[in-house]
Assembly symmetry: C7
């Protein structure tokens, strides 16, 4: 983006430029890439899965404390990608919204409503002058008794969508192309295909062979509607399957 | 608009330029076109209809979750076009206003009053310094027992009008011309004519043949005062009728 | 107004320039002409009348929903001219003030007090930094049991006056000259003369022959103290009378 | 005042310039002359009088609704000169203060205390950043049982003084000189002399012969402590007396 | 003070310049001289006195309403010098503080505590961004049963001191030198000497012979602890004594 | 960082630059080094330790009052490094959070939750315009009955991590390299090895021989879960052991 | 400090410069020297003492009302140096904190806690945008039953330390060097030595012979834990002892 065209319209949180753009929101999208990670989510027939790079930036960090995936409620899982403190703030907020819904209504908050709520909060930050937008994107997965598996994407502008497959982060362009090609060919993926497509799309977009310890893979499915993280062995198994297939 | 003439008067939300213009509001209008969609609404003798492009920007998006039309109450439907998060904010607000009216008065909020209320809220954003205007336009349709079908348009400046036909979005100029010509010739449109004029105006302004899956068509009529979305087959049928007529 | 002379004093709502001017208020006056309309009001012996151009900017607008004249209470009518959303905001406020007075005092709010109240609100906007002035002017007419017919003008600066005749809008200069000449010659106008002077002044200032559908004419009189809008036929009749007289 | 010397210190309401001046307050004084009127008040032995130009800027204005003199309470009259909406705001405030005093204390608010109260409010506007100063000056007259006739002047800076004679407005310099000369010669003026000195000073400062309809003359006196406006005939009589004397 | 050295640090109320100065407070001191007056206060063995120029800027002002000295409580008198509206604001505040103390404690507020309280308020204005400092200085005198006569000086920066003699205003430099020389020679002044030293210092600093009507002289003493203003005859007597002595 | 690239985006607390950076937060990191200290924390099998330089900047300071390590609760210790007043503010806050948790839940606040809470507070300062970020980093150590020893790092951006070893401050780069090399070789450190690795890493990064009085070493372990500071003699002993080993 | 390097980062109270500095706080330190005074405090075995210059800037000031030392509670004394109104504000606050503690806890607030509290308040001013930092430093002395004599220093940045000896003010550099040299030689000072070291350090840093009336010396000791001011004769005695020793 050329500096000349923004001409000061980008230094106030809530004003329009003459072209009708709100620059501060656009800059917030840049912050999503600040951790240099990529995530992929895929929705199959009975399964929804998120695969995300796990990079422990420093060998001294206790690897267990580094994660981008969070349980929001019994039935909803989330991956938050971007500025880490902003991501954690969003996750905490989502957990609070979900808990409050459960308490009021006696059943878990449907994934779509949660995605909508988080998007509404993001929209508010783009309109009001008091606080900046949050520099992170969210992916939600859930298995709904009626609708089956669900994948939602929420961005800093307050936009959310249900997705068949989605990628966010630095390599989202190649990962998305990969997903589009594959899902076009075959969209009724069984559980294994769903998991392996997510992993493969991520691996493909990165252009390197990933090892099981460089990945976090989380799954919800008809058999197990609880948000479950695959073990390293399980991930390894899928990686081998993919390698053998090629 | 030349940059020179605004000279800084466009960077504060609530001030007049020497020509008596409020630039920030004018810029908000530009944001209506940000999603690159066009909508058309037409009022017939017994029917009001909205036809709007449906473009799923990404083949991975679950098409069902992409819509620009919303039910506001049992009798009022709405199409919101522009920045999507702003549009959803407005729709939620309209739903809240309508529900609150129903609760207080025991009958559904008349469409004109709802349009007026939303316009008043928009006017407030143009006068007060705290929050920016919302970058979206609204079309409301309803069937009123006394007044028959109604179409209202509400814009970011807080202006609203009852319309015989109306278009908003990137192609609103050609679509409006088309509507004007057609309605001038014949304004007492029956149900089918109303629906097909809306579709035709949209198709004509886009300069391409649209397919049923690229359209959302919603209808209220004397026979069925509830806001109803046509099925793909119904839309297909109308598209064929139009094609055959030409 | 040369830009040089304002030198930044025009970008803050509530400050004086070295010459003691409050520029933002002056700019608000420019906004009155933004809809490019002109209104004329005349006070006769027993009658007060407002004639205002009606221009439906778009043939698709439902003409009935376009109006610049509003009933404020049983005895007071109003014409609001300028930025339409601001105008509607002012009208709603005036209706609220009048209703509140009626409720508290048991009789309709006298027209002068209403004009004064609206002027006071406008003054407040010129002094306080929080909100901009409203870009519209108001004309009020009423028939008072004691004082007879009344015409009041309220402007964005918070200035109001009782008038024998008055014009606001783009053509207010020629319309005012016309009124001054005519009223100087004869000021004890009967009902018909009052109506026709208003119409004639408007027609004359526009320099074109107006048709009944391009006009809104509202009347209060001794016989009928209720704010009444003339029908197209009645307006047509007056237009013919004027044409024949010339 | 040269622009150079203010150098930006005049664009903030409540800051001092390096010379210890508060520019915004000085600019407010300029606004007093914006209506281009002059007023004169004189205190005699038993009488206090205000004479002020009445100029109906537009022959269409109902002359009765144009006035610069207001009754504040049963015993205090006021002339407000400057930006008219600001003047009316001040008058309303003064009326409110006087009514509140009467209610609390059971007797009319003494004129000096009222002048002091209004001056205190003006001082506040010069110190606080929220609201601009008001662009008008006030003259109060009253007949006090103990002190006799009183004349007070209040200005936008929050300064007030009891006066033997005073002029405010565009011609205040010549009018003040005239008053000083006359009152130096003879200060124990009887009722007629008081009235005629006020009129003469005003006439003299304007350099033209004024007619009774161009003047408002209000009087309080020992005989009639109520604020009374002279009729046109009474003013005419005084004008003739003055003319004959010369 | 050179403009260059302040470089914008003087346009914000509560910030330090790189040299640790708060410019706005320094500018407030300039405003003390805006009325072009000088005051002198002297403390003797049993007497405290303030002598201050009285200048009626306009021969039309009722001389009785012009004063710079105010009774704060039964035992404390005050002279306020600087911007008159600010001075009156401070005096009113001091009267309120003193009255509140009396009500709570049952005895008059000691002069030192009152001076401290007013200084604290001034300090607050220098630290907080909301309101500008007040452009006036205060002198307090009182006769304390235990401490004898007292003289306090309070300035816009929030600094206060007990003084043997003090001068504020345009001629404070020569007046202070005069006081220093005289008090060095003889500091145990009796009542008459105290009064005459104050008058003489004022006269000397002005470099002109003052007349009794150009002076206000207020006294508190062991014999009469009430704040008392000398009559013109008493002042005249002292002036003659001084003249004869020379 | 080149000045040119920030271009004003660094002078507002809560806005994004076009690259999606929040400059003020980045500058806060610089302030961590303002006291020119370095700290090292290491986690062993049964022990967690912090070693930090102790520099008494002035020989007149009572050495006992200089410390960078604080007890937060019975089980959590903290080292705060950066701007000292900010550090103390953070420590006080952490103590308050821990005490409040203990009171509500009846057991000590787990170290991870405390670190998360402090990180959340830091995140808030980066998003809200009212207060600047705090210029200090925090290290927490604790012995958890279930998880064993723990080391957490919290930074001004609101980022926190569990660590095997960590260094913050001016020499954090060489200290971190040293830790990485050593821990890679052997990570199952016993108590003595843990303490001595922390001391050695610190000594090594500083490039000088430190004496026991230049160090603060605090320990929590399985045997003694209370935060304990080593005596000078104990530190001396470890220093000798290290020296002998080399 | 070169202007270039601050580049506007010094005009906002609560922002960091790119180097992680908060300029406004640094400028506040400059204000400490604005009264051109120096203070020295020394801690002996049983005694803590503050010696500070007393300069009556004007011979007319009542010398008794000029002091830089204040009693905060029965056991804590304070010396405040810098902008006098800010200093008095801080002292009043400290007295309030100490009184409140006594009321709540039934015993005097320990000196260290009071110093910490005042430092915390200063830290807050450096972080929050509403109020500037206070331009003064504080020294506290106290005799604690358990810890013996104590000396604390609190600065505008919110930093506080216990000290063996300390100097603040314009001559703090030479005074501190003097103290360091002397205390290095002998730190177990008896009462007399403590007092005389403080006086000597002050005298030495000023480079002139001070007289007893130019000094304020306050002491707390094991024998007399109350904050006591030495009489002029006592100070004179010590000055003679020092002179004789040299």
């Amino acid at each position: 983006m050329s500096r000349g065209s923004s001409a000061g319209f980008d230094r106030h949180i809530t004003i329009f430029s003459p072209e009708g753009r709100v620059y501060q929101v656009e800059y917030a999208f840049k912050a999503i890439n600040s951790t240099n990670l990529t995530a992929v989510a895929v929705k199959g027939v009975d399964t929804a899965v998120i695969a995300i790079q796990k990079r422990v930036p420093d060998s001294l960090i206790v690897a267990d404390t580094v994660t981008s995936v969070y349980q929001i409620s019994q039935t909803v899982g989330c991956c938050a990608i971007g500025m880490i403190p902003d991501a954690k703030f969003q996750v905490k907020r989502a957990q609070g919204e979900a808990a409050s819904w459960k308490y009021k209504n006696g059943y878990d908050m449907p994934c779509e409503l949660l995605a909508k709520k988080m998007a509404d909060l993001n929209q508010y930050y783009t309109q009001n002058a008091e606080m900046r937008s949050l520099g992170c994107a969210l992916l939600f997965i859930s298995y709904d008794d009626e609708k089956g598996p669900e994948v939602y994407r929420v961005d800093p502008a307050g936009y959310y969508r249900g997705m068949k497959g989605v990628s966010v982060g630095v390599k989202q362009v190649p990962a998305t192309s990969f997903l589009e090609k594959k899902i076009k060919k075959k969209s009724d993926l069984n559980s294994t295909e769903t998991v392996e497509l997510a992993i493969e799309a991520l691996q493909n977009s990165l252009g390197i062979d990933v090892r099981s310890k460089d990945l976090e893979v989380v799954v919800v499915s008809k058999e197990n509607t609880k948000f479950t993280k695959l073990t390293n062995d399980q991930v390894e198994h899928h990686l081998n399957q993919i390698a053998n297939r090629d």
